[in-house]
Symmetry: C2
Subunit: 336 residues, 2 copies
DNA sequence: CTGTTAGCGCTTTCAC
DNA sequence: GTGAAAGCGCTAACAG
């Protein structure tokens, strides 16, 4: 039912080519221009992007695949990505992998079928197999937040190892020695392990020994945070401080502390990861490693658009953009 | 570079029609079927959805427009919507309106250009103007969570007035009389005002008078919750309880209480809206009005797919699906 | 600057 | 059950 370029031809007497040219910002005689604009208005004409995409093989649309749309971390990044993309007049297609590698691979194929011009992914998987179809199709991909372990790809992220080290050093500075860490290392997850290494760096540098009971390496989930803290708090020699190395784990950990009879920071000191709303609504205010979310989203978009712009022009070296973190001050660390 | 249906013709000697028929689940001789399947595998053939959409005018894709992708409420609904859609083998296109009516209208047009088969919207706007292009294009729309004030449309939501009344009654049952309410009524927002009415219903039924100072009607944001509570707590006759009528406001309110010297529920009792992670991570555990998020997401998808299925077959009456809420128990209400 | 023409990759009549 | 041909709405040469 919607009107087409042909209806405009009827109404203006011009040719398809001229109208198409107008639509794509070409030069048209002023008189024809007004003629066309009038027709467009009266006919409520909207270009059919599908038809357009079929011939140009471009859709001016970017796909974003996130590991969990229900995670605030993802939601926050998506917001900034969306804002930037809108500014650049690009459309946005969001897919939720639901923490499933299978779904993630499916999402990539879905986006490819939709002919997106490029893809940003905050991955579930830690190896690049799922990106093969994109590579074959020549569609640029930029990783966000999490690199892959088997291949260097375009990626925007922080220095996870360093960020974790700084967090643990903050605890050590305050006199803590019995420090536990909760991190994710499911399926050889790279980021989680990097953060563990940062923890280890700090401990070793301070000459502290790591009690194996203090190491909680599981999956990236609220449950992991919750259960890990439950276990830590019931140890005979329980730690005096816990480093919660990602947002979900931080959430779960706080839940567990709240349910216990112990208080923070009196009985247990805490430092977490990602300063989303969490640190503002719990009492005491949490110390947090802060990632520059907005910058991450924007840089990822920028890098991707660059890649889209120079598609075909030879293989470019993979670029890793490493951003700085900071620690937001709270009241969750006791001085010992 | 990707292979097309023509490549399959070359490889199998069959006609385009037969191959197309196979792709769409038609009957094909077993021998030809295997022939085609083999070719597909070897050529890594993937149907071009763009081309397909051009001719069928269907994309098997649904668009979802949310008022804020960075809100956990939206994220949670999106997760369930995505799961259901995946189950039904539909693709999903998510757009963030960023709390802007203008962006929202733009999103609708964007989705229409992408030729989605239907749209689910958790709206920013409270009037239906922005949906006009969808109506003109004959694309079905289902509202989620928030109805519009000027027109009855297909909508899945709760009974906001009743839910609010029950929440306030819970406070009254515990002996509270000085009860404040924080709600959103920006731009004549329907849902916020309904919740206010529920508050009023409960107060009037109990014969309580409403102190105008206790009425905080502003926008739907964390800031509103935060500032409102700041103000309420500094009143000479401060309320003994606060009803926080949406999730964002609840977040802000908790922040403000935490920053104050007062404690909950000792000094101030609280009941909030939407049982997302919030109520689990703050201490004391909050009483919360719980919306059936999963059911809402699923019912919205179901209703939309029904509409898509019966497109064209005459105007159907608008359906409102009203779901039940419940109150989750916490420790945030003192008995007076 | 404008018009004509030929497709993009697929589905869909309609004969066979 | 299969094939030939037309065409979805648009852009992209190429002439003029």
């Amino acid at each position: 039912m919607p009107s087409t370029i042909r209806d405009i031809r009827e109404r203006t007497g011009l040719s398809l080519a001229t109208i198409s040219k107008y639509l794509n910002g070409g030069n048209v005689l002023p008189e024809n221009r007004t003629l066309i604009e009038e027709a467009i208005r009266e006919l409520h004409y909207q270009p059919n992007e599908i038809a357009r995409g079929l011939v140009t093989n471009k859709t001016r649309t970017v796909g974003v695949v996130v590991y969990d749309i229900g995670s605030l971390f993802n939601g926050t990044l998506l917001r900034y990505i969306g804002q930037m993309l809108r500014k650049e007049r690009y459309g946005l297609l969001i897919c939720d992998s639901n923490n499933s590698e299978e779904t993630e691979a499916e999402n990539i194929r879905f986006l490819l079928r939709k002919k997106v011009d490029g893809i940003i992914v905050i991955p579930v998987s830690s190896v690049s197999l799922f990106l093969k179809p994109a590579k074959e199709a020549g569609v640029p991909v930029v990783l966000l937040d999490r690199p892959l372990s088997d291949e260097a790809l375009d990626c925007v992220r922080i220095d996870n190892r360093k960020a974790a080290r700084l967090a643990v050093e903050k605890l050590i500075e305050n006199g803590h020695e019995n420090i536990a860490v909760i991190c994710s290392n499911e399926g050889g997850e790279y980021t989680g392990y990097e953060r563990f290494k940062g923890y280890r760096d700090a401990m070793e540098a301070a000459g502290l020994i790591i009690d194996p009971d203090y190491l909680k390496m599981r999956d990236h989930s609220i449950e992991t945070g919750y259960e890990s803290v439950k276990e830590l708090l019931s140890l005979r020699n329980r730690p005096t401080a816990v480093f919660m190395s990602n947002y979900e784990v931080s959430l779960g950990a706080v839940m567990a502390v709240n349910e216990s009879d112990l208080s923070c920071p009196g009985d247990i000191s805490l430092i977490g990861f990602d300063d989303l709303i969490l640190s503002h609504i719990v009492k005491p205010r949490l110390y947090m490693v802060v990632q520059p979310m907005q910058e991450m989203g924007e840089k990822a978009v920028k890098l991707l658009l660059e890649r889209i712009g120079s598609r075909g022009r030879g293989e470019t070296q993979a670029t890793e953009i490493i951003l700085n973190t900071r620690i937001s001050r709270g009241d969750s660390i006791a001085r010992i």
